[in-house]
Symmetry: C5
Subunit: 306 residues, 5 copies
């Protein structure tokens, strides 16, 4: 995720890092070439004049507006939902920690409480790695003991398994009859909230926006931009490449951004900063336990937070 101050209006015009411009340069060069050719040949292909003017383009524009607007909204809705789910993970993890420290029995203080919070932090790391498709073991090893690691090895649904372990600890504490009466229900509700977050993340990961939309938008955008120079050349002559590339830039860039944010758990510059959010949860839980906490994740030179 790009985190940078928006700066004044003039500098914003020439931003490079954080713009999607770099990913669409080849296509823009192609449009530049086509439109220059159209100008040079006065709108001819193989000597035959292409009989277009600007009139048909607003007709396609209606479809284009619907497609791009829809796709962008759908992609952004996925991004926002993913972010909200991670916000709820932070909230539930904090509440679970707070309730465990406050309501769970005092006698076996120290070990059990700490183990509980350690497993909770490991859960967050496991989810991050599952969503990114990376190896969770190094991070898990920082918080879990040998037995836990063994139990999880070979499992496909590690975050779920860690939540089951947390529930087991709650069930044992409840059976001993210690803590206030409604204790189990209150803590179980937070575990349930975390389980809902896991399911929500998996849903976003596993079900993309229907593929056919992407194909349809893509084809319409490119065909529109390929035809545009031939429609403009009679009206605006030498300005054709400028306007064609400008229009193409707006369309290609919107498609590129929408593509990136529609998969919010990826590693593109406009995806969510999963690692920074995980670290933030870790830091907050450790502060609640009164333990030393690691540094927050910082942005790299291109203002990108991982």
């Amino acid at each position: 995720m790009i985190v940078r101050p928006s700066g004044n209006w003039l500098r914003m015009l020439f931003v490079w890092d954080g713009s999607v411009l770099k990913s669409i340069v080849p296509q823009l060069l192609l449009i530049l070439a086509i439109s220059s050719l159209a100008v040079a040949t006065d709108g001819r292909i193989a000597g035959i004049k292409i009989p277009l003017d600007t009139a048909p383009f607003p007709l396609v524009g209606v479809s284009l507006a619907i497609f791009l607007g829809f796709r962008n909204n759908a992609a952004y809705a996925r991004f926002v939902e993913a972010r909200q789910i991670w916000g709820r993970i932070l909230i539930a993890a904090r509440s679970l920690t707070s309730q465990a420290l406050t309501y769970l029995p005092q006698e076996d203080d120290g070990f059990a409480r700490k183990l509980f919070v350690r497993r909770l932090i490991a859960f967050v790391y496991a989810l991050t790695h599952q969503l990114r498709g990376t190896d969770p073991r190094p991070d898990l090893a920082r918080y879990l003991n040998e037995e836990d690691l063994e139990h999880l090895s070979g499992m496909d649904y590690i975050p779920v398994a860690l939540l089951d372990r947390l529930r087991l600890m709650l069930a044992r504490a409840a059976r001993k009859g210690q803590g206030p009466e409604q204790m189990l229900w209150m803590l179980d509700a937070q575990v349930g909230e975390l389980a809902a977050a896991v399911g929500g993340c998996e849903r976003i990961s596993n079900t993309p926006i229907p593929f056919s939309y992407g194909v349809l938008v893509h084809r319409t955008v490119y065909l529109y931009c390929f035809l545009l120079p031939f429609g403009l050349v009679d009206a605006i002559g030498l300005a054709t490449p400028l306007i064609s590339v400008f229009v193409a830039y707006t369309l290609f860039a919107l498609e590129a951004i929408a593509q990136e944010i529609s998969e919010p758990f990826g590693t593109d510059p406009n995806c969510l900063a999963l690692h920074a959010m995980t670290r933030n949860i870790e830091r907050s839980l450790l502060e609640q336990c009164g333990q030393p906490k690691p540094e927050p994740v910082a942005a790299n030179a291109a203002y990108n937070v991982n």
Copy 2:
């Protein structure tokens, strides 16, 4: 559901599997024929010149934009809601399993717990088959005993009946007074969540987008495309078929996609992968119980996951 990487921008232009192009080829050929005829006759029908130009089309375009935009959004909202309901089924089934394994009494361990989870998996299969209108018995027979199968035979609302059976098991366990105090309430809430999912799926299945919208959109789109060649022919001559087919492609394709995803439980390529999701729930629950799990459902050659 089509699951395939989006590939680079050039290959996306020529995708065949996962595009709706194949389902609208006949209509596009018709538009091609009409527009070629319009060019050949210079915009005449039976020798009479049709006095159209491009001016009226943006006027219809306003209505068209509202209709298509609305219909597409309404269809996608149904798709998203259906997917969210199935996400909640996964979440509730996992939580119910986790809570049953953790909080339900130990003594009659083994049998009762396993039966509980087996009935839960059978519930998910029963719902899938009800939504698709297929025969649930082969899948039910894998998880239910004779008595259960007998009880369900001839019933119209099988998933509801299976949830009632789960509630009965909870009631018996609660009456014995075993398990933590709030046990019944916590597990009943998950059963209630599953019941809400059944009702939500039935609602989407039984109440389509009002039929009149479909008729109105359909007529407007086709009449617009039939008239378009006669409006374009004076302005762009030989390019008329190209533009007419292009405009028709965007409109027909959007209508076709919207039609498919508005019935998300169907078997079209853009519908939900009910069987894959059911298998995923089955796998997750079995892993929670420490039992062997079947393979996930794979995509076919056309990238279609059922």
Copy 3:
């Protein structure tokens, strides 16, 4: 509600039942007359040429798009919400039945349980009749005893009174101390859900979309269509009636559909099938109790489900 398969693309063009065409035929004939007159007089009224061309119409089109788009979305949102409330009624009624059969005490089995479910079914019928403004007594008499009917006579809020009766039964069962501990809370929550559904339906019924919107949309649409022929006649001559009626059809039809679905509890073809949904709830509850169930409501010859 119209329930009919969407058929192939050609037949959809000529559908009559389920289209709103029949309700706007007079207005379309008026536009046909006006536009024919405009062609015949070459755009004159009382001999004076109306100096319009197509340029002003897109300016009005901006407002028109906002009005129609808004009104249609607002109307559909009401339709969807009404349907979701009825979905929740089904869900809560089923859960209440399931919980009553499972958790309520055994000894006074038979009578009390059955009375409970009978009153629940009567509640659904009472709500349907209240929303439609029809007489509930014939349907209530099928499920309630004399004393209940007497108690309800003369009441303005019959569904509320029936829910109060259900709560009274729960309170008595709870006072006897039978059933699991959390029983009352779990069943009361379902009654509360049904009460929320009643309030939600009343809200949709009693608060229409602000009346001024309707007036504004209506005037804009009609004035636009009355002026259109005079704007088109110089440009497209004899095609003026065709285009004018086409544009008017799209606008009038959208207004007509939006009007129908904005009152989802009415009896127009695009309203909700309240009676079919009520029967469906009745059938499901009776199947849960193991009792014989009536046939579902079928569509009439015009594909209309009441």
Copy 4:
């Protein structure tokens, strides 16, 4: 709120009560004057020809569509939310009454229960008057005793104070240990729902749509309408006043409606009928208690329900 049947399509064109036309007549006359002047002078101001044509107006139209569409949606969302909050007040007040009558202890029947419901009705009246900025004392005096009125005098948050009093009654009943076990929790939840409604109403009241939007929309609409006659006069001559006033009507009217409904607790014709809704709640609660109920609030001659 205007409550009137929408009538047939012809009469809707000439509706006066319930239209916002009356509030924008002066501005429309101004536009009529400007456009008549533009026709008379052939588009000159002080003898200098204003060199406008229709081409620039669609460019401003893009901004205009975004502004008006946004502002209208934002305003309507506030209206709908306000209505939903009042729907929830009805629901919670009914449930609280039902639960109090059913679950609260029997012995001090009569007084305590009735006092509870009287305070509840007083709460609704207090909220209405707070939102409208009117004096609540006459209505409060109908339902509260001297001690309550004294306690509330000089308070800024009267509805909150009345809810605190209801909670106090619940706490006392719970301390006596009468009624079912979960009684307190169930009734407290309804009080919490009412408290949430108070906070929701205050939020809508205290935080308008950001003021700058209003200024921006207003300026754009008026400048657009002032310039329009000079852009149209060369193209459509004598029809300029007609079209200018028509366009201005659609824009001014939409702005006026949006302004009214964005403050849904006001007393404009398109605001919510707070008094009618309050009376409806009062009537429903009194019927639940078996007490005589007042008449519903009726519409005045202009179809306006207060």
Copy 5:
């Protein structure tokens, strides 16, 4: 936040305070200069005629409408969500106060209850200062004792730590077994609601709208406005600067407002009035406790409430 009556339609045209006009004056002057230059040179740059007309601008307008509409909606959604979260803080703080005063044990009345509410008010101040990045210590010192201040010093998540302290007080009261049975659960739920609000505010603060959108919108808007005079000059000559600045004003102003409200916790004129809302919560809680309350925050001369 600007709080001012909207006044009559004429005065709204010349409002200065509360308009974003002042922040975009430099850019508008630049457009004025460019368009004046275009008129003076008859659309030439360095003597070369720029061959533009108005035809290409509607093509860019499609993208522009999507970008600005999307960005504005996304920004407003953040504003509304932030406001709703603060509404929930008010609601939960009031309910927590009400429940603490009503249900918490009587004997250690006075001190413990007051301390509880004082910590609650301190929590709200701590959150305000965290979101604004200001020093919370002066406000915290008004409500917290030395020990609390010491405990919080050096912490990164002060609002979370204060909620943990509130939970600790609840846990102690519950362990003593005083108060009604469900007491802990009911009060813990309110603390959980406040914790959710903290997480929600942090989410809005930490995750801006993806940066690339801002860059894309900004570039498109400015390039569009820079090119516009050259497209208009042939058609409308001397009116070019007027129309260019008008169009630029609508686009720049919308971008500026959207930028301000997308960071609702900032201190720009269109941001939320955090301090006024905090004071309002403080006043309401103190009134509930029957203690003297401070004055509400007033608007400054520019109608700005902080």
